[in-house]
């Protein structure tokens, strides 16, 4: 019988497992609060139990391993441009929520993203985003008749 030993966990992975477990518990309680009838919880109840069981198993597997099992490979480091780009995406969506308009928000997002991702040539950094934004936003509005909310194009 193989013995178990402790190992250094990936804290990021443990945090993800913890978040998943928290979501499972919250969603079950929310659904239970909405209606405790069997029909309402028929799928959610068992799925939550299975999910929590898997979370416990995965958390245990993260901190425990079999004696003699090969060491796992270290996770690659996070490129700093990834969180920066994520933040820009969040800002882009927030701008849309606050009715900045797809035209202005998209243009600013493209210019800022190109800068963050390393583009420094002025034509590609300024002209390309402007042309691309106009083409896409107007294309959506005029060709596909999708009423995309805009700040400047409404006056065109």
């Amino acid at each position: 019988m193989s013995r178990l030993r402790l190992r250094a966990p990936s804290w990021g992975h443990l945090a993800f497992i913890g978040s998943a477990a928290a979501f499972l518990v919250w969603y079950f309680l929310d659904a239970y609060g909405a209606s405790s009838r069997l029909e309402n919880l028929m799928l959610i109840g068992p799925a939550t139990l299975v999910g929590l069981g898997l979370c416990i198993f995965l958390a245990a597997a993260e901190v425990l391993t079999l004696e003699g099992a090969p060491e796992r490979e270290a996770l690659p480091s996070i490129d700093p441009r990834v969180p920066a780009f994520m933040a820009l995406l969040a800002a882009y969506v927030a701008a849309l929520v606050f009715d900045v308009g797809f035209d202005v928000a998209s243009l600013v997002f493209l210019v800022a993203s190109l800068w963050v991702l390393g583009e420094r040539r002025p034509v590609l950094l300024l002209v390309f985003p402007a042309v691309f934004t106009v083409l896409i936003v107007l294309g959506m509005q005029e060709l596909l008749s999708v009423p995309v909310p805009t700040l400047l194009f409404d006056d065109m």
């Binding site: 029909e39 028929m42 959610i44 597997a61 490129d79 997002f109 995309v148």
Partner: protein, 504 residues
């Protein structure tokens, strides 16, 4: 089985209706574009161009929409192979081997393989439809909610099975997706997980969630590289390479045939369709290859299995639509709307009274298949120019298009917000090797699985066990489900023990 008078009538209709052919080429191109552009989808393309069918006769309208469907069936493989972003959920399994092939510089061959498998798969499914349209309808009619429930769970769990290395992570990803798929107002009118937001009353928007989990999260990962394909030589497209891929696919007729049959059968089941067919077919091909396969690392047979199945599911779903009037998914739901605008109701009566029209649709689609081979070949050169674009330009522009596409789909800000939330979730999941595909399938099927479970419970009057014991098909499906879940776990356990013994 085949009504010869109907066949003669179909030829008569098709040879005397030139207008029916005029719409096929634009339809194929629309399908290819909407399938190939991440963020858009075949259903969006069909929905946007649905109003045009008002100006067409019934056959023309259906041939136009099926052309969009057929074009999209292959179009979604292009970003799946070149960018690891399935154009739609139907091409999830195409990414498993198509993308590794592209990263190895074999993108020409992978695209050729996908094109051949797609076209032959679609053709096969319409041949199957031609031969078995009536028997298929009678089989599907016998599937009750308990069978549908097991089939849907099976389809969802397969994705976890595919990732044998991290089986538990695959299952958790599936469970999370399943529960997210049930958010919103339940069948009984309870508000679950909506946090009071009206945008969540109808549930988490599935297509934006899919875009976020697959497309946007992959874009975060692409930031690290300069080009999709690192070697400049390997970014070049050449017809010879693509044709070599076509020939390679033709050397695997059994795999194409198997994928075609699996796709046709699964496509005929309402609500499951191509998003499950490609996974089932891939899992089957992987299992059959055993240790001799290189699946997940760029095995062309993986692309063949996925593409032949997702394309052939179109014919299967058409069978259900024509024979029962039930749409198999988003695409056939839009076709159902076209039926309604032309005052046509699908079903056994429609089949009996309009056999010539049904056969005309089938023959028209067989011609579309040949056209797709030619149009698709040319379109690859347009679409795959994408590999030559530096990623620092591609990533933000595709992200912007994905956000706009999600807005077009939902018609509200809920689409972009969903994309952003699920892109972050998808990135974290990918980092810790959770299959995002399992979550996506869970989200897509969550509502349906709960609905079928509820109907089974109502039919069984609360006596689940007794009801299921009285339904042999459900029992067989359940056994298959348990076996497909247990076998990989047992195999992993044995492999681990053998490894430990070897070390000792």
């Amino acid at each position: 089985m085949i009504d010869m008078a109907g066949v003669a009538g179909a030829f008569d209709i098709l040879t005397h209706n030139a207008g029916a052919w005029l719409v096929v080429l634009p339809g194929l191109l629309i399908g290819l574009i909407f399938g190939a552009v991440p963020g858009l989808s075949i259903s969006i393309g069909m929905a946007i161009f649905l109003p045009l069918t008002l100006y067409m006769d019934f056959l023309q309208a259906i041939l136009f929409l099926t052309a969009v469907f057929t074009g999209g069936g292959f179009g979604c493989a292009i970003p799946a192979i070149l960018m690891n972003i399935p154009g739609t959920s139907a091409a999830v399994a195409t990414t498993f081997d198509g993308y590794p092939m592209a990263r190895r510089g074999e993108h020409n061959m992978a695209l050729g393989v996908a094109l051949a498998a797609s076209t032959i798969g679609t053709g096969l499914s319409y041949l199957v439809l031609f031969l078995f349209v009536s028997p298929i309808a009678s089989v599907v009619l016998r599937l009750g909610p308990s069978e549908m429930f097991v089939v849907a769970i099976w389809g969802m769990s397969l994705i976890a099975v595919l990732r044998e290395r991290y089986f538990a992570r695959g299952l958790l990803a599936g469970v999370l997706g399943l529960l997210i798929g049930t958010i919103g107002v339940s069948a009984l009118g309870s508000f679950r997980g909506t946090m009071g937001s009206i945008y969540l009353f109808d549930g988490v928007p599935a297509i934006p969630a899919l875009i976020g989990l697959f497309a946007a999260s992959e874009l975060f990962n692409l930031i690290r590289a300069d080009y999709l394909v690192a070697d400049e030589e390997k970014r070049r497209l050449n017809l010879r390479g693509i044709l070599a891929g076509v020939r390679l696919a033709l050397r695997h007729p059994v795999e194409i045939l198997r994928g075609g049959v699996i796709g046709s059968l699964i496509g005929a089941i309402p609500g499951v369709g191509s998003s499950v067919a490609n996974l089932v077919s891939y899992a089957d091909a992987k299992r059959r290859a055993g240790a001799g396969g290189n699946f997940g690392k760029g095995d062309p047979r993986g692309v063949i299995a996925s593409e032949s199945a997702n394309s052939s599911s179109e014919g299967g779903s058409m069978a259900t639509l024509l024979a029962l009037g039930i749409p198999g998914g988003g695409g056939t739901a839009i076709m159902l709307a076209a039926f309604a605008t032309h005052n046509v109701t699908g079903g056994p009566r429609f089949l009996a009274d309009n056999t010539d029209v049904v056969y005309a649709i089938i023959f028209g689609n067989l011609v579309q298949v040949i056209l797709l081979l030619i149009v698709g070949l040319g379109f690859i050169f347009v679409a795959s120019a994408i590999v030559k674009v530096p990623l620092r330009l591609l990533v933000p522009t595709v992200m912007m298009m994905a956000l706009l596409g999600s807005y077009a789909y939902t018609g509200s800000i809920a689409g972009p917000v969903t994309v952003a939330v699920f892109s972050a979730l998808g990135w974290v999941m990918r980092r810790y090797e959770y299959p995002v595909a399992a979550t996506v399938i869970g989200i897509l099927l969550g509502g349906m699985i709960e609905g079928e479970m509820l109907r089974t419970y109502q039919l069984a009057s609360g006596q689940f066990a007794e009801y299921v014991m009285g339904r042999p098909v459900t029992l067989i499906l359940l056994l298959l489900l348990v076996a497909s879940l247990a076998l990989p776990a047992v195999r992993t356990y044995r492999q681990r023990n053998a490894l430990l013994k070897e070390k000792a």
